[in-house]
């Protein structure tokens, strides 16, 4: 989780990612951020997030995104 928070904080140092639950709905993250996050996750977690998972429900909070990463790690 710490690693993921660091990835997100590097994009928006002014956002409290531990609390925010509407990252996509409130337009805090844009499509460019999502591309960056996915490529960082691929590098640091060795997990590939494919198109079908690029949905607000997985990107609205750091918690939801982390749960997705864990799920995809298990599937490997």
């Amino acid at each position: 989780m710490e690693e993921l928070l660091n990835i997100l904080k590097d994009l928006h140092p002014d956002v409290d990612f531990e609390k925010e639950e509407r990252l996509v709905d409130d337009k805090i993250l844009d499509s460019f951020d999502i591309i960056s996050v996915i490529s960082e996750i691929a590098e640091q977690f060795d997990v590939v997030i494919s198109a079908e998972y690029i949905l607000p429900e997985y990107f609205n909070s750091a918690k939801a995104l982390y749960a997705l990463i864990e799920r995809l790690e298990d599937e490997d």
Partner: protein
């Protein structure tokens, strides 16, 4: 000869009045609705005594906004789109430049607009769309219009921190739409999927061919550009066959293997521009859509939309760049060297545009206009302007124009044209900042800001978000003890680039150790 862009609409509404012209997928307007409401808006402006003036259009992306644009032209005025994505400080600068009397809004934007300084009247589109049409007055406005009258002003990044308003007229837009339509072979069966915001000239590609041919444009909801599978599903539901998108929107689809689950099956024409298309991603598009035609477009806002095109009909190596190609008919590209003579084959020169497609210049800014719109140095016999793009190019062995680099610190980031100087100027304006220097990491597509000052990185980003649109917010912000300067006192971007490279390689090596 047609000398008014709305003559397209006049002809089309007679032919296909009940066809949908513009839609966002849930709400659409037919050509006759667009025609009628634009006439109502034009009449309202006329009654109000507003003529040959800028009219600010501040609305959410919707068919009504497009109709408002046409309504402003009907009234003999020119539209200036602004958007909620623009931070307040930037809107203030724009309003200050324009001194407009009226801001056209929808219910939602009106709340924000009433807080603007400057005293322009906030008017609701819905309240004036029913204005009784004064046909005689509109005809007189139409007949008095000449094709060098402006029809819109759009604002682009300015290196001193103040955005510049590029004003375009009927003639340059007509020229652009005719040439573009021929190259991309639009017709009445064209179904556009619009991606670009309506507050840039990029949307000319869809709006005007739609009224010219009686085609249809879907204004794709912005949030879909964060969900690649749903985006492609939308394209399929609306049977969209033509897209003119920035490269980053296209790669957003191809980069995540979207094509493995869904393919935009109706797409036949894919035009892209504003950035270099990574060949790896381009190949994925070609494989997914072997029947589609792909065209690279190039051009600055000052040349009205786009001015060059290249039809991609051969394979490219991974390290190759897709050429800019050649100018549209009725436009010439001059490649001028430092000494203002023409560059020979293989030599690098500044890309300069000659022809009707030149816009009128920067609104209320003669000084900046004179710097970029200059007398053609090759013509000493009569006045003739060319536009100096600041882009360097050369002609390759195949006779195609290639983009080489920028002369200055302008970059293309996520399809947006940005002056790094504008970011620096805004950072420097913040309290507690001593100096600021920006660089662009082209390979990773990241804006990196270095600064010296008391403000913390986190705080600086938050403050900057009030001043700059989000696509201009640096992706990495690093505080320095001391700013590197060159011998003649300028910020040393070479050293900053080295700092950046060192910091990214360091991260990589720690990762490798893990």
């Amino acid at each position: 000869m047609q000398n008014n862009v709305l003559d397209y609409l006049e002809r089309t509404v007679l032919r296909v009045p009940d066809k949908i012209a513009f839609s966002n997928g849930t709400e659409g307007m037919t050509f006759s609705e667009v025609d009628r409401e634009s006439r109502a808006i034009g009449t309202w402006l006329h009654r109000k005594g507003i003529y040959k003036k800028p009219v600010v259009v501040f609305m959410n992306k919707h068919p009504r906004e497009v109709t408002a644009f046409f309504g402003v032209i009907r009234g003999g005025c020119f539209y200036v789109p602004i958007d909620e994505e623009m931070p307040r400080a930037r809107i203030d600068l724009i309003l200050d430049n324009l001194q407009a009397e009226v801001i056209l809004c929808d219910e939602q934007t009106a709340v924000t607009a009433r807080g603007f300084s400057g005293g322009a009247e906030v008017v609701l589109y819905d309240e004036i769309k029913g204005t009784e049409i004064d046909q005689a007055a509109l005809e007189e406005i139409h007949d008095r219009a000449i094709d060098t009258d402006p029809i819109y002003v759009v604002f682009t990044s300015g290196s001193t921190g103040v955005p510049k308003g590029v004003a375009a007229c009927h003639r340059s837009v007509l020229d652009y739409i005719e040439q573009l339509s021929r190259v991309l072979e639009f017709d009445e069966n064209t179904v556009f999927g619009n991606q670009t915001p309506l507050y840039f000239d990029a949307c000319l590609k869809e709006l005007y061919p739609t009224i010219k041919y009686g085609a249809t444009t879907y204004l794709i909801p912005r949030e879909l550009f964060m969900m690649p599978v749903k985006l492609v599903e939308f394209l399929n539901e609306q049977q969209i066959n033509t897209v003119c998108w920035v490269v980053s929107a296209l790669t957003f689809i191809s980069a995540f293997d979207t094509f493995k689950s869904v393919i935009p099956q109706y797409l036949r024409t894919v035009a892209f521009g504003s950035e270099v298309f990574p060949i790896k991603q381009f190949r994925r598009w070609r494989e997914a859509l072997p029947q589609a035609k792909f065209t690279n477009l190039y051009g600055p806002t000052e040349g009205t939309g786009m001015c060059c095109y290249y039809k991609v009909e051969r394979d490219f190596e991974l390290d190759e760049a897709i050429p800019i190609g050649r100018p549209f008919a009725n436009t010439e590209i001059l490649l001028l060297k430092e000494d203002n003579t023409l560059a020979g084959r293989g030599e690098t020169g500044e890309i300069c545009i000659r022809g009707t497609s030149l816009t009128l210049g920067y609104y209320n800014n003669f000084e900046k206009t004179r710097e970029a719109f200059v007398q053609n140095p090759l013509n000493t016999a009569y006045p003739e302007l060319i536009y100096r793009t600041g882009d360097l190019g050369r002609i390759n062995d195949a006779g195609e124009l290639i983009f080489v680099s920028r002369k200055d610190y302008q970059i293309k980031h996520m399809g947006h044209r940005i002056e790094l100087g504008e970011i620096e100027a805004n950072v420097n304006m913040l309290e507690g900042i001593k100096s600021a220097g920006c660089i662009y990491d082209l390979a990773k597509g990241k804006i990196v800001l270095y600064y010296v000052g008391e403000t913390e990185e986190k705080e600086l980003v938050a403050l900057l978000k009030d001043k700059l649109p989000r696509y201009m917010i640096p992706n990495h912000v690093r505080k320095l003890e001391q700013m590197p300067f060159t011998a003649n006192g300028k910020i040393d971007r070479v050293t900053l680039t080295r700092y950046h490279q060192e910091s990214t390689t360091k991260v990589l090596s720690t990762k490798e150790k893990r």
